[in-house]
């Protein structure tokens, strides 16, 4: 198994940390890690060696039967892959057509965490969840640092500071974690989601759920909403945004552009110095004006377009990711060899290319 250093810009995580090397070795794999692969995640080459991995000066992609990474491999790397090799990473199929074609041509079996079915058995391999956990936590820290106010309430001799109001839009894994973290810091938190079950989940974290007068969706995942629906939703959300000091948006629809929930007018109505953190910025943004990786001022309001937040906390993000990889690998290993059985509902769900075929319809 090989772990190349991440080559995409600003990726600080690593797909295999020293802690997971030894269980992989136990499972019958030999682990190769490129020199400096764990550098940003404070995983030293020495630690890899100590854990039983071989640290290679060169990219180990060409020699490996299994290549694990966080971001998709580059086209160049993909061209090095052995025919029939297995890759595991986030693949973002919509954006990586060319890469998929390379995989297809080289008869690579590629797995993408984006597509992992969210069934009970697959939970331990669910990297979307584990990274969303990190993102939700970091989103609040980012907001708190940028907010020129306190989050918690303080009654002091120099007057009373009221608690900040935080609004979380979208209460999936990241949104829930953002709620929890903001509550920990003492903010008053409100949240909204289209999913029906989200209400109870939000309240179970001690936050207030906004009951909007909208027909809402049942089921575990949000599906695409009509533009009228979104229009109406924005109307109702508007006044809550105006009253908030921090807005964190996490609304997403798997594989689609994110719904637009916040408008410039709403931001203008917020108190000066307020902050919007848009976790959906990479898939278009819940605020149309947010750009991933950039901070922009809209009037007196700061808009933070989040770009790969998990990567800003590389040690733990990598550790969780690496466990997810390990757990997914375990589903493929039989008798010490990696031999993915595509009859398994989980592997079937997240296998994108196999045996020279692209197995999913791409959007």
């Amino acid at each position: 198994m090989g772990t190349p250093a991440e080559s995409r810009p600003a990726e600080r995580r690593v797909a295999c940390v020293p802690e997971t090397v030894s269980p992989m070795v136990d499972a019958g794999l030999t682990v190769h890690v490129q020199e400096g692969a764990g550098r940003h995640a404070h995983a030293l080459d020495a630690a890899y060696r100590a854990a039983g991995a071989t640290v290679t000066a060169e990219d180990p992609t060409a020699e490996s039967d299994v290549v694990v990474s966080v971001q998709p491999l580059t086209i160049d790397q993909a061209r090095l892959l052995k025919p029939g090799a297995v890759t595991i990473s986030f693949l973002q199929p919509a954006n990586e057509r060319e890469l998929l074609d390379v995989y297809k041509d080289r008869r690579v079996t590629s797995f993408s965490f984006d597509l992992l079915p969210r069934v009970t058995r697959a939970q331990s391999a669910d990297a979307l969840s584990s990274q969303a956990l990190v993102a939700g936590y970091r989103a609040v820290l980012v907001a708190a640092e940028r907010l020129p106010r306190f989050l918690p309430m303080f009654t002091t001799a120099a007057g009373t500071v009221p608690p900040a109001k935080v609004l979380v839009l979208g209460a999936g894994v990241a949104g829930l974690q953002a709620i929890a973290t903001a509550r920990r810091l003492g903010a008053v938190v409100e949240a909204y989601d289209v999913r029906k079950a989200a209400g109870e989940e939000v309240r179970s974290l001690g936050a207030k759920f906004l009951e909007l007068d909208l027909e809402t969706q049942s089921g575990v995942y949000a599906s695409v909403q009509s533009e009228e629906f979104l229009e109406r939703q924005r109307e109702l959300i508007g006044e809550h945004v105006a009253q908030s000091d921090v807005v964190i948006t996490t609304a997403a629809i798997p594989g689609r552009k994110a719904p637009v929930l916040v408008t410039t007018d709403m931001l203008k109505a917020m108190a000066p110095g307020s902050v919007l953190v848009d976790l959906a910025a990479e898939s278009g943004g819940n605020y149309a004006g947010s750009v991933a990786g950039q901070e922009t001022w809209v009037g007196e309001v700061l808009v933070h377009g989040a770009l790969n937040l998990p990567s800003s906390m590389p040690v733990h993000a990598s550790r969780l990711y690496s466990r997810n990889v390990l757990n997914l690998l375990k589903l493929m290993i039989a008798d010490g060899e990696v031999r993915p059985n595509l009859d398994d509902e989980v592997l079937d769900g997240c296998c994108l290319t196999h045996d020279g075929q692209i197995r999913k319809e791409l959007p």
Partner: protein
Amino acid sequence: MTVQLMYLVAALCFILALKGLSSPKYARYGNFIGAFGMLVAVVTAYLHGAVHNGLWILVAVALGVVVGIPAARSVKMTAIPQMVALFNGVGGAAAALVALAEFFAVRDPGFLYLLATVLTVLIGSVSFSGSVVTFLKLQELMTTRPVLLPAGQQLAIAAGVSSVALCALTIATPNGFLLWLLAAVGLALGVLFVLPVGGADVPIAISLLNAFTGLAVAASGYVLANTLLIVAGTLVGASGTILTRLMAQAMGRSLANILFGAFKATTVVAHGEEQRTVKSGTVEDVAILLGYANNVVVVPGYGLAVAQAQHAVRELVAQLERRGVTVSYGIHPVAGRMPGHMNVLLAEADVPYEQLKELDDVNPGITSVDVAVVVGANDVVNPGARDEPSSPIYGMPIFDVDRAKSVVFMKRSMRPGFAGVDNELLYNPKTTLLFGDAKDSLTKLLAAVKQL
């Protein structure tokens, strides 16, 4: 005078015995004191009253001891209720026999005396035959389901009416034969009374028959003009009545319902779907279970979050620890609805991190856990995930709480958890269900544990 004083001492002992038996701390002493009082009473009675037949009496007592002690010693814990029923029955019979014998001994009885006599005979025999039937039911020598005779209700009414008539007749024209007849009708009445009682209500019936026997003894006290019998019998009658009411309440049945239900032959349906029974306990049961345990694991789940019961659970655990119970929390990786959901909650309630245990810390030692308390969790303790390859959650690691010595399960209903899969653990005989909102249940439990 000394004799009377000794009887008074015995009566005192009985009061103290009942008092002791009502508190977990003193229950055993209570029983000892009761036994001691009995010894005093019996020895006194023997020394003072066994003018004739002393040897015979000794033989009868010895026989009773030889039969009673081994029976009580060897009976299995699970068979104790029917044993109690049997002992109660023979007590009732003894009372009836005493009244009969006295009736033949006395000349020229007065009204009150006769009244007491017929009551003793009637109640004693009802208690005897009723107890025997409950014994048969519990021992499964006959069906445990309510038995509905074709004209059961009419028969019971007939027996009731004729017993009242016989009583009146006996008082009016004292006559041994009538008394025997009364005893026979009493026996029939007892059988008719208990036959339609089924399943879960049998212990309540036993308790009621126990109170009956108490009353019979008190009545026989009037017959013999013996204060001790009056006091002791009344005590048992009164406390037995209260106890019967409490038991009925604890099972969510009204006493009237059971009493008249018995004659009206209401079927008693087992809880649960598809006729599967679950055992639902009261807060006090669970409090005692926890309070006297050594080793407890709390497994919280999404329900804890929904109920916002994090503070309540911490308080309960703190109270248990104050009693010397070792408690830890079993935190399942996917408990709740987001990663780390339980951590967030329990950190808010200031639960020390050291108390949070993971699967691998808990499962290996689970068999030595006295009570596993499942608070609003479900899927994460579903043994199906371990045992049933066909289950949609098969393969998820779980807390093996079904291997603990006992399980307390707090939830609001029989609904399944997130995965929508039924949980076998709910029907496990080790499991006591505590229905209701988790916060509510925990708060009540805390109060109850403090009372121990």
